[in-house]
């Protein structure tokens, strides 16, 4: 750790940033200090709204539209960014400070080839000529272990997979050999197995070029692998800062401790009711296709009352499609869906009100799952009105009861609109809407993945409590194995439309595993700062290159 004066790269003091909303300027970052030396990697961690990205961008002297830097100083290598002209600041970007965005797929311009975007900055800054820059790009691609480094740059972004794009973006950030790179949640949008490759690549290249970096993430385990020091943020304030080791082992602040503690929620595993108990839902040999593309083949599993079946898999594995088959949105091409042993019509259009009522769904994105133009009472009340025919006072008391169930005070939320609520509250409304139909079976489609960890835990606990009280059966779709660990009774692992492995949770988490389950399990980052190194050593580096070409 270099803390000599001459190594000082970035010094931020009392940084204040304001955002424009509701027609006035509100402070969203309240005086944050940050010091970064050459070659040092700092992790910025916090929940959404903590101001991590805003601070990261401010380190480039940049504020998003609708934001402005209202106070403090940002000194980069002796240059005060808050007072220099915009053109001078711009001259730093891309050349001395580079940025790696969260979603590489969205941050590469779809209209240009990857390599042209890569070489834009070096050519613009006259650091390299076009051909030199291209050769340099290919070299970087190779260092980042991208397949076909000579050729991959000449593709368009949409022709390259997400993990590869993210590495190409890291390469692009390196194009001018900057002193500092801001990584803004570079792996959040990736599947776990891809994430591990990208993490490894980023860590290697940062080390190789001895580049300083600010690594922004909400995932502790990830930041533990990457950062030398960690700074924890909450609502635009600094909570604490320490080197990684210390921070992981002995956090000082309560907030930090609570973050660390999230992963501890676990409930006892239940086992299937014995005898001739009929599963609430059983999926039998279901095949499904979108047009001519087959997406599910021979999927079977059962869900019993009072139990949670977690369906796990990476994106594209067919988890959500299975849910669509069960609800009847996508009639299976073959196979059956049974509820309480009764064969269901394949399409929801042919199902009776009663059949529809029994199976309800909770969605991942509460924003799109709730009609923003309808009051909470109507959102929750509608199923009760629709299925049970409740009216007037009866309806109101039912809505109040449901709001109580999801731990929201009825009088306060009854007349509000979804956009006025926080993410966790919205998700609770989604749950209440499902409960309003008095179902026996609920599909939870990634219900916690869009939420901050503390909030997510609250939702999981709520779901668990409701399951106990109402004897509900859950089908829990998730890609997050930590969630599976905490809530599932049984686990179904899916890959490319097929069930790879299924069984009670304990069995699944104890070896021997199916090779894919093994890959999945071993890719989940752990809090140990040496985890990444260990895993990579275990797998052997070549393994990663192969996986990346998938």
């Amino acid at each position: 750790m270099a803390d000599e004066k001459k190594d000082l790269l970035l010094k931020i003091r009392d940084l204040r940033i304001e955002g424009y909303s509701d027609e006035k300027w509100l402070e969203i970052v309240h005086g944050v200090d940050l010091t970064l030396h050459k070659g040092e990697v700092m992790g910025l961690i916090g929940e959404s709204g903590a101001g991590k990205s805003t601070i990261g961008l401010a380190a480039m002297g940049f504020a998003r539209d609708g934001c402005r830097i209202s106070g403090g100083s940002i000194e980069f290598d002796g240059m005060e960014l808050t007072t220099t002209s915009e053109s001078d600041r711009r001259a730093l970007r891309g050349s001395r400070i580079a940025y790696v965005a969260q979603s590489a797929a969205a941050s590469f311009n779809p209209a240009h080839k990857i390599i042209d975007q890569h070489t834009e900055a070096p050519i613009h800054y006259r650091i390299r000529k076009r051909l030199e820059a291209q050769e340099d790009a290919m070299e970087l691609y190779e260092r980042l272990r991208l397949p076909n480094p000579q050729e991959i740059g000449f593709r368009y972004p949409h022709q390259v997979s997400g993990g590869q794009l993210q590495r190409a973006m890291t390469a692009m950030a390196m194009a001018c050999r900057p002193d500092l790179i801001i990584f803004d949640e570079p792996t959040t949008a990736l599947d776990v197995t891809t994430q591990i490759e990208v993490l490894a690549a980023i860590r290697d290249i940062v080390e190789q070029f001895n580049t300083a970096a600010i690594y922004i993430t909400h995932d502790l385990a990830v930041v533990a692998q990457m950062a030398d020091t960690i700074k924890v943020l909450l609502k635009g304030n600094e909570v604490e800062e320490a080197d990684t080791e210390t921070m992981l082992k002995s956090p000082k602040e309560d907030y930090t401790k609570s973050l660390w503690a999230v992963r501890s929620f676990k409930r006892p595993q239940k086992s299937r009711p014995g005898g001739d108990a009929v599963p609430v839902v059983s999926v039998e040999n279901v095949d499904a296709a979108y047009g001519d593309t087959k997406v599910l083949s021979n999927v079977s599993f059962d869900v019993y009352a009072g139990m949670t079946v977690a369906v796990v898999g990476e994106s594209g594995s067919g988890k959500s499609t299975t849910a669509r088959c069960i609800t009847g949105l996508l009639p299976p091409t073959s196979g059956k869906i049974l509820m309480n042993g009764v064969d269901m019509p394949p399409s929801y259009k042919d199902r009776t009100k009663e059949e529809l009522r029994k199976a309800q769904m909770i969605y991942q994105m509460a924003d799109t799952a709730l009609n923003p133009k309808v009051r909470i009472c109507d959102i929750i009340g509608r199923p009760a009105q629709f299925y049970m025919g409740l009216r007037g006072a009866a309806l109101k008391s039912r809505v109040d009861e449901l709001l109580d169930l999801i731990e929201l005070e009825p009088s306060k939320y009854y007349n509000r609109y979804p956009p006025e609520l926080s993410g966790g509250q919205k998700q609770r409304i989604g749950i209440a809407r499902a409960l309003a139909a008095d179902p026996t079976f609920i599909i939870c489609d990634e219900v916690t993945s869009a939420l901050d960890q503390l909030v997510a835990e609250g939702i999981l606990k709520l779901l668990d409590r409701l399951q106990k009280e109402l004897n509900l059966a859950y089908m829990f779709i998730t890609h997050d194995l930590a969630t599976v660990r905490s809530i599932a009774d049984e686990v179904v692992v899916m890959k490319q439309g097929e069930v790879v492995e299924a069984g009670p949770k304990n069995e699944m988490f104890t070896p021997p595993h199916h090779p894919y389950t093994d890959l999945l399990l071993s890719s989940v980052p752990e809090m140990d700062p040496n985890w990444l190194t260990t895993v990579l050593e275990e797998r052997g580096v070549d393994n990663i290159g192969e996986a990346a070409t998938v």
Partner: protein, 319 residues
Amino acid sequence: MGDVLGIVLKRLGLGLITLLVISILIFFAVELLPGDIAEAVLGQGATAENLKAMREQMGLNEPAIVRYLEWLWGAVRGDFGVSLISQRSVADTIGPRFAATLFLACYAAVIAVPVAITLGIIVALLRDSVFDRVANVLTLTSISSPEFFLGYVLVLYLAVKNPLFPALANVNFQDVGTFELYYKTFLPALTMVLVVVAHMMRMTRASIINLLASPYIEMARLKGTPAWKVIVKHALPNAWAPIINVVALNLAYLITGVVLVEVVFVYPGIGQLLVDSVTKRDFPVVQACCLIFAATFILLNLAADVGAILTNPRLRHPK
């Protein structure tokens, strides 16, 4: 690229069906018009006797459906019949008029499209500045003015008060030099430019600004790309689809919707021909004009869609 061809073929097929439906609609619309061609031709000189002879000669005594099918059979073979009044072939009647309309449309488009897109880019670059506001008000005003009125005002200022350009654009394509041709048709072209520029420019501005919130635009700015380059190199290539769409719509308008400009500047275009033929109930000419217009519209729309595909690398370079 095979996809594009497939789409084009499918759309052309649908276009043909649309044309067929339009031909039926137009035929019966003309049938339903009060009075018939014989009455229209003879005017006050019509008597029962010569009306009968006239109808006989024009073959109007056959049932409507038979006449339509006869026309259709001819049309399928590429023969759109003869004008009932002049007895000249429809192709000869329409040909030069349509050429004139196309010429004027191209003339206007060649000025309007680059001007509109350039202005749109500049306005997007200078968004929320005074220049943007002024451009906004001016374009709105030009959209809001009836085009014949725009024409009259141009004539007043550029032909009557300051005799810079001729007020009449009654060009005769055979014996007019190239320069004179452009000179004489300048005012109608300018009127049409004013009518369409505003729309295209606003769309260009809107579609560019719409993209400015995209992560890749932020990325470009974070790479230190200058503002104009962000717009031209990073936003514009992704904004083509809506721009092409509105350009196509406006090109279609330049060809099909300029009857009033033709009237004001006495330009021998197809619009005037169509209006005349409607008042005279000269069905074959009406039909042919409407089908040309419809085909223009369909083709331009198709071109816009193909253009949108071609400017979209996702569709141009499938995985």
